[in-house]
């Protein structure tokens, strides 16, 4: 009898990872807080006028890079409904769209900031928090669990606590905090990820912005599935923020929401926030299979992506 090659598979034993449709670049046209909206449409137009030339430059540089100029570029806009709720989508979204159109900008997707905390019962912020792998200071050999300050994340070793007494009765003197992998001198960053009041957790703005970048890079999965998909707009916008989809597609012809790379055009006042975002993102462990999937996809298109995900994110501060 000839030998038989048997294969046996078990679905519950295998790992399946959905792949996200990906553009080449996702451009964030602005990130405005409620006070900006309160200032009225002229403030919005001012923002979009500053953004428009940069968005155009990035679009054309990708078109030059892609054979046939068929670059997939999508634009998005994030509205803060997490830290303060203002007006209604029915009133505010058309105002944003009109202001953008006045500056020849098309907003393909609009997203709610609170969706970065939780959307459709999926706690995206928790998902990302669980994937933080702390940057270890020198002499971290695994013998002890990683030192974590609840709700904080830093890029090195904190100062020892002044005033605490060591075993031999000598009080600790101040010593500087140290950045890991510093170049010459330290730039030590310690970021608050969340705080809790009466048992209710509030995620910090940089933490939600880190989740937002990961969503735009298409790198998050929950049980192997994409945590959220953009929902096509309906004719009328709802009267409350909760009824607005987490990410809503406004332009039916838009390229995919997520992309290999992201660009955010922001006011310089967001610089400290984005430093904090990069500190967080430098310590998020994205699933190895998802990383490989994205590299394979981009490689198939002849695009060499930066290995480190923070290098796939760029900014214009204007």
């Amino acid at each position: 009898m000839t030998s038989v090659n048997a294969t046996f598979g078990e679905v519950a034993a295998e790992r399946r990872i959905a792949s996200a449709p990906l553009s080449h670049v996702s451009i964030e046209l602005g990130h405005l807080y409620m006070e900006d909206f309160e200032a009225g449409p002229e403030r919005l137009r001012e923002q979009f006028r500053r953004v428009a030339p940069w968005a155009g430059t990035v679009r054309s540089s990708w078109q030059d890079r892609i054979p046939g100029g068929r670059a997939r570029v999508s634009t998005c806009f994030l509205i803060d409904d997490y830290f303060s709720k203002f007006s209604t989508p029915a009133e505010l979204v058309p105002m944003v769209l009109d202001a953008a159109a006045d500056c020849d900008l098309t907003i393909d997707y609009i997203a709610r900031e609170s969706a970065c905390a939780e959307s459709d019962g999926i706690e995206l912020a928790r998902l990302v928090e669980d994937r933080l792998v702390n940057d270890p200071p020198p002499d971290t050999n695994g013998s002890r669990p990683p030192v974590k300050e609840s709700g904080w994340l830093c890029n090195g070793a904190r100062s020892p606590q002044v005033g605490t007494v060591q075993a031999m009765g000598k009080a600790n003197r101040w010593a500087p905090p140290l950045q890991n992998a510093k170049r010459g001198h330290s730039i030590f960053v310690d970021v608050e990820l969340w705080d809790e009041n009466g048992g209710k957790r509030t995620w910090s703005c940089p933490f939600l912005a880190a989740v937002w970048q990961l969503l735009r890079l298409g790198l998050l999965r929950t049980d192997g599935r994409l945590p959220l998909r953009p929902v096509m707009r309906e004719d009328a916008f709802p009267d409350d923020w909760e009824s607005l989809p987490a990410v809503m597609q406004l332009n039916p012809a838009a390229a995919p929401f997520s992309a290999y790379t992201t660009l955010s055009v922001l006011s310089p006042r967001f610089l400290p926030v984005e430093l904090a975002v990069r500190t967080i993102l430098s310590q998020v462990a994205v699933d190895g299979d998802v990383l490989k999937q994205v590299v394979a996809r981009s490689g198939g298109e002849g695009i060499r992506l930066e290995e480190e995900l923070v290098d796939r994110i760029s900014y214009v501060f204007t």
Binding site: A13, E123, P138, T140, A181, P227
Partner: protein, 308 residues
């Protein structure tokens, strides 16, 4: 260059074996990630892989000070609802630079530790197989934590049917002419030096975990038989001490169940010499014979010699 790992194996701290659904709950160590379970030929549940960051001295037989930075991959698993393992490993690679890189560099290579400076694979491997220095990479402590996280689960009753020490199996895998060396050190410590053809694959980790599991089973059965003091204690007492083996261990022996076909020759060669399965079988026969003898004696006693 090479891959090093350590597997800790022990008895689940629960009175009985736990069902598949409890295995899933106990091993749910990462939100948004499924616990993988296979049911054939034995129920095996494994947690998602988690990373631990390290930046420390690498093991070195020549006591060279080689710094390594990167991440260690770890997971917890439960076999047959009864045996728990904590397993960690990392691939050591040469760093392109002799400076510590920003952390994002290392997170782009999950499960890799980069050696800064001149590291020789043989020196690292020899150093790891020996007792590593106190300030060096401590995969054992990481694996122990991945075992503890299961053992301390509130879903377990912490009433194990018998006491048995954990075993630790430290392994190193290098490319080259296929070979495997299994060494028994102390009561709890084992090392495996494995040479594989071609690229390293995660199947090597599965093989080492499978070896650790079966070595623990064999160790546990030996201890139970030793404690029963067959011949030195009255028959019923010895039989009672052997009972946990029948209740909890004998059905778990499934060598090579999850091992890739390409790697099963490694198991087969270890099974020829020293002959794990041969030893297991002889111990199982011994337990069963003892229980049979005891049953016969018991029946004879019950019939009260009336047949005389």
């Amino acid at each position: 260059m090479l891959v090093m790992g350590e597997v800790h194996t022990g008895l689940l701290q629960n009175s009985g074996e736990i069902p598949e659904s409890t295995c899933r709950d106990v091993l749910q160590l990462l939100s948004g990630e499924r616990v993988r379970v296979s049911r054939r030929p034995i129920v095996y549940a494994v947690s998602p892989d988690l990373l631990t960051g390290v930046d420390c001295r690498l093991p070195s037989a020549s006591q060279s000070r080689i710094r390594g930075a990167g991440t260690v991959l770890s997971r917890s698993s439960i076999t047959g609802g009864r045996v728990v393992q904590g397993s960690s490993h990392t691939r050591i690679e040469r760093s392109g630079s002799d400076r510590r890189q920003p952390w994002s560099h290392y997170l782009a290579r999950p499960g890799v530790v980069e050696a800064l400076g001149k590291a020789k694979p043989r020196d690292l491997a020899d150093g790891f197989a020996e007792e590593p220095s106190a300030d060096g990479l401590d995969l054992g402590a990481i694996s122990a934590r991945f075992m503890d996280v299961v053992q301390s689960s509130p879903l377990l009753d912490r009433r194990a049917p018998f006491k048995i020490a954990r075993t630790r199996l430290r392994w190193v895998a290098e490319p080259g002419e296929p070979a495997i060396h299994f060494t028994l050190h102390s009561d709890q410590m084992r090392t495996v030096r494995l040479v594989h053809t071609g690229e390293f694959t995660p199947a090597v980790v599965d093989l080492c975990e499978d070896l650790a599991l079966h070595d623990w089973l064999l160790t546990a059965l030996l201890v139970i038989i030793e404690r029963a003091r067959i011949g030195g204690t009255p028959g019923p007492e010895a039989a009672a001490k052997l009972a946990p083996a029948v209740d909890h261990l004998l059905h778990l022996w499934m060598p090579s169940a999850r091992v890739d076909d390409l790697l099963s020759p490694y198991w087969e060669s270890l099974d020829r010499r020293p002959g794990f399965t041969r030893q297991w079988q002889s111990l199982v026969d011994r337990v069963r014979d003892q229980l049979a003898v005891h049953t016969l004696a018991f029946l004879r006693e019950k019939s009260g010699g009336g047949a005389r």
